[in-house]
Point group: C2
Amino acid sequence: MTYTIGKAAQMINLNAPTLRFYDKEGLLPFVERSEGGIRLFKETDFEWLRLIECLKATGMPIKDIKTFIGWCMEGDATLEKRREMFCERKAAVEQQMKEMQDTLDIVTYKCWFYENAVRLGSNEKAKELLETAMPAEMQARKEKLTAWCCR
Amino acid sequence: MTYTIGKAAQMINLNAPTLRFYDKEGLLPFVERSEGGIRLFKETDFEWLRLIECLKATGMPIKDIKTFIGWCMEGDATLEKRREMFCERKAAVEQQMKEMQDTLDIVTYKCWFYENAVRLGSNEKAKELLETAMPAEMQARKEKLTAWCCR
DNA sequence: TCTTGACTTAAAGTTAGCTTTAAGTATTAG
DNA sequence: CTAATACTTAAAGCTAACTTTAAGTCAAGA
C-alpha cells in the first residue's frame, strides 16, 4: 500500500509543497518513485516523517536533520554519532523547558497582578497588594517576581 | 542616570540595531531623546525591555507586543484588555510546555535506545531489547514510545 | 578646533522555512 | 480517447525578525 504526495500530506497534516520542499532539501531519500516519476509513500516512510517532525520540534534546523537522515542511511557504522546527536537534542529541549518555565512563572504572576488591577480598577492599587497578598505558590519566587510589578 | 543605545544594548544582551528596529516598530514609545536626537535609556526603560523579552519568549509577534505597549501607555482604561492578553499568553505557553514535554519523552527514549544500539553494535539487536528491558520511567508511555523504535 | 567614535536615518540584504506560480507531464474516470 | 485532476520541476515570492550598509550628524577628549 502506497500513497501519492497529496494523500500522504493529508495523513500527517502537512501539505504537498512542504513535502516536496523536504525532499528537495534531502530529508526524504527513502521515498521511492513510480516509473512515471510519481513519489510513492510507504507505511515506513510515515515513521521517518514523524521522526523528522520530532526533530523539528526540538528546534533542529533542516540541514542538521538531513545530516542525521544521511547517517541513518549509512547503517550501524554511524550509531555513535546518532546517539550523540540525540543526547544534544535532549539537552537542548531540557534547556528550552527551563526557559519556558521561567517565562510561565512570570506570565502567571502577571495574570494574578492584572486580576487584582482589574478588580481594584487601577494599576497603582494592585501594586499595594504585592507585599501582603501574593498567593503561596508564588511566594517562593517572590524576589524574582516583584521586580515585574509595574506593567 | 541614562544610557545611550550602545550601553543599553550591552546591558540587556541585545545589540543597538535591534533596539533601533524595536523602536522603529513602535515597541519603545517610552524612550526619550536628547536635544540632539540621541536616545536616552532610563532605568525604568529596562523594565519595559525585560517585559518585551518575556512576551517574545511566549512566542508573541512584535506587532502584538506593540499593541500591548500601546495599551499600557493608555493607562487604567485598558487593564481588562491587558489581563485577557496575559491569560492568552499563559495558555499559549502551557500548550507549548505540553508539546515540548511530549518531544522530550521521545528524545529521552531515543537516547536510551541508541545507548543500547551502540553497546550492542547494532540497531537490530537494540530493537530486541524493547519489550524486555525498558526502564521503569518509560514503561508508562511504552505504547506511545515503541512506535518510535526504528531509527 | 580637530579627530574619533558613537550616534542618526532610510533602505537594502539576510536567513529559515515554507508557499506560490508557471509550464508541463502522468493518471484515472467516463 | 478525452477531460479532469494530481502529479512533476524550477524559480520566484513571502514573512518574521533581524542585520548590514551608506551617508551623514553628534559629542567628548587632546
